[in-house]
């Protein structure tokens, strides 16, 4: 059982702060590192995999520093986000080379096991240059798993995978977590994270915004006030009907036409809106969420 401890870590590039005073412990099981693009997830994974020195604070694996310490790679596997690989090799040659570099006694057998685990046996003798994005992702997984590491770090591992591959990888990560390995993967898609990880760490703009069970974080995200713009056949009537419902916190008639609605309970609002429209005989022309971007979801989390 291994743990990565990030203790009051900041990392800046000249005057740009990429990670700001983050403390977290990544223990056995699957942890999802969630945050919008540019939030600092890749920087955090680089810090956790010994590929970046913290400007302040410490990052350790079972008490050992990760920076400038090659020995940590005996128990750590890394799947980087970047796609560049040794394209002049076949998938099998690449994984065998990784096994050899780990000093494994039977590199060929270890590579075969790892390749079979991620279901790449059929394509293993093809050149990596011919691989699709998803296949590259999987062969990277095989190379990171070849030495059976206690800790596995994956940066946006589901990028480019088709749904079947995605489900398979999710299952694999769940199994590895259940076996007691420490698995951390980053993603900017909440649904992706909650299908695999019970523990979620949320980062926004380099800050550690939330930490804990996915259920609690999911509630925080879905219970936040949502804003919509509605275009209806009778804005005034619809606005008054909506205001009478407890799921709506406010409604404002816009000068350019339409209603701006703030819903406090998204789940109830989505059921109530079509019902009220039908009851009052008002035709709905358009329902547009105005703050559905992930950034706004995360911003809400930070402020809550």
């Amino acid at each position: 059982m291994s743990s990565i401890v990030i203790d009051h870590v900041s990392r800046w590039y000249r005057n740009v702060v990429a990670v700001n005073d983050v403390s977290m412990t990544i223990g056995p099981g699957v942890t999802g590192l969630l945050g919008p693009n540019g939030a600092g997830k890749t920087t955090l994974i680089a810090l956790m995999s010994g590929f970046l020195a913290p400007s302040t604070g410490t990052v350790t694996l079972d008490g050992e520093p990760l920076w400038r310490n090659e020995e940590v790679y005996r128990k750590l596997g890394l799947v980087p986000e970047r796609e560049a690989m040794f394209d002049y090799l076949t998938g099998r040659q690449f994984v065998v080379a990784c096994a050899e570099l780990h000093g494994l006694a039977d590199a060929g057998a270890a590579a075969q096991r790892s390749i079979a685990l991620i279901e790449m046996t059929e394509a293993q003798d093809r050149s990596i240059s011919t691989y699709s994005k998803g296949m590259r992702q999987r062969i990277k997984m095989a190379s990171a798993l070849v030495h059976d590491p206690a800790v596995l770090l994956l940066d946006e591992p589901f990028n480019g995978m088709d749904p079947r591959q995605r489900i398979h990888l999710m299952e694999l990560l769940r199994t590895m977590g259940a076996e007691g390995r420490t698995v951390l993967f980053s993603s900017h898609i909440l649904e992706e994270v909650e299908q695999v990880a019970r523990q979620i760490e949320v980062v926004v703009s380099g800050r550690h915004a939330a930490s804990g069970d996915f259920g609690a974080i999911r509630r925080l995200m879905t219970d936040r006030p949502n804003r919509f713009v509605l275009r209806t056949a009778d804005d005034r009537l619809m606005a008054s009907a909506l205001l009478a419902d407890p799921s709506v916190r406010g409604a404002r008639l816009r000068s350019e036409g339409g209603i701006e609605v703030e819903a406090s309970d998204f789940g109830r609002f989505s059921e109530v809106l079509p019902r009220l429209a039908r009851e009052h005989g008002v035709r709905l022309h358009e329902v547009t969420p105005t703050d559905e971007s992930l950034e706004s979801v995360f911003s809400y989390l930070v402020s809550s």
Partner: protein, 238 residues
């Protein structure tokens, strides 16, 4: 200290890129030109010296070392694929030395052996002439590789800076200013050639100085490259 896997991967990577083709072209130019000169002027010491020194040591050898070394490290650092080597429990110096072994093998195949052949073509009656240039190119090539390896881990523009260094320092200033010989790999190599082949390519440069200078550049360059690689930063687009 040497990883056979990294050596194997390095050899594959060099010949998997366009630079590999250039490595074949350079020695063909040297040997081809030597055959032409021999056919045109016969066994002429001045012409032979001019060809092997002016073209071989000053141009072909450093270019071979630059192509081989930068082709081994710079592309992997640029695209981040070096992380697959670095995320392994092996010393960074082992990685650098293994890569330099491949680069040096290229220097031998595309620099030293063609130099030997060209020397034997130009002056078949003086084997020490060919051997002198072969030894000079081998040791000089090793020093160039160490310098270019360090450049590859220090800057993204290793090839451009390497070319500027070769053109301005080793080529232009080395030919104009006498004092440059103290800090010029080409002149140190020439001193080795002078000693073995009893020539006078470079004046007033003690052999001991050239040998120590080579040892310092090769040793310090290799060590420093490994040290820089230990502090390799891998970050995405953020």
């Amino acid at each position: 200290m040497i990883s056979p896997t990294i050596v194997r991967l390095g050899a594959r990577s060099i010949f998997g890129r366009w630079r590999g083709v250039l490595l074949f072209v350079l020695p063909v130019i040297l040997v081809g030109l030597s055959v032409l000169i021999r056919a045109l002027v016969g066994e002429d010491t001045d012409a032979a010296e001019g060809t092997l020194y002016g073209l071989g040591l000053v141009v072909i050898l450093p270019l071979v070392a630059l192509l081989a070394t930068s082709g081994l490290l710079a592309p992997e650092i640029d695209d981040g694929s070096i992380s697959y080597l670095l995320a392994k429990p092996i010393s960074r110096h082992t990685i650098v030395i293994s890569k330099l072994v491949v680069a040096l093998a290229c220097v031998v195949v595309f620099g030293t052996i063609p130099m030997l052949l060209a020397g034997l073509v130009l002056l078949p009656g003086s084997p020490s002439f060919a051997v002198g240039f072969a030894v000079g190119s081998l040791v000089g090539g090793a020093a160039y590789c160490a310098i270019f390896a360090l450049l590859s881990v220090m800057t993204k523009h290793a090839v451009v800076i390497g070319l500027i260094y070769l053109l301005i320092w080793e080529g232009l200033l080395g030919g104009l200013l006498d004092g440059v010989r103290w800090l010029s790999i080409t002149r140190w190599s020439a001193e080795l050639v002078d000693q073995i082949a009893s020539l006078d390519l470079v004046d007033d440069l003690p052999l001991a100085y050239a040998v120590i200078a080579f040892a310092v550049v090769i040793g310090a360059g290799t060590w420093r490259t490994g040290w820089r690689l230990r502090a390799f930063n891998l970050t995405g687009d953020e």
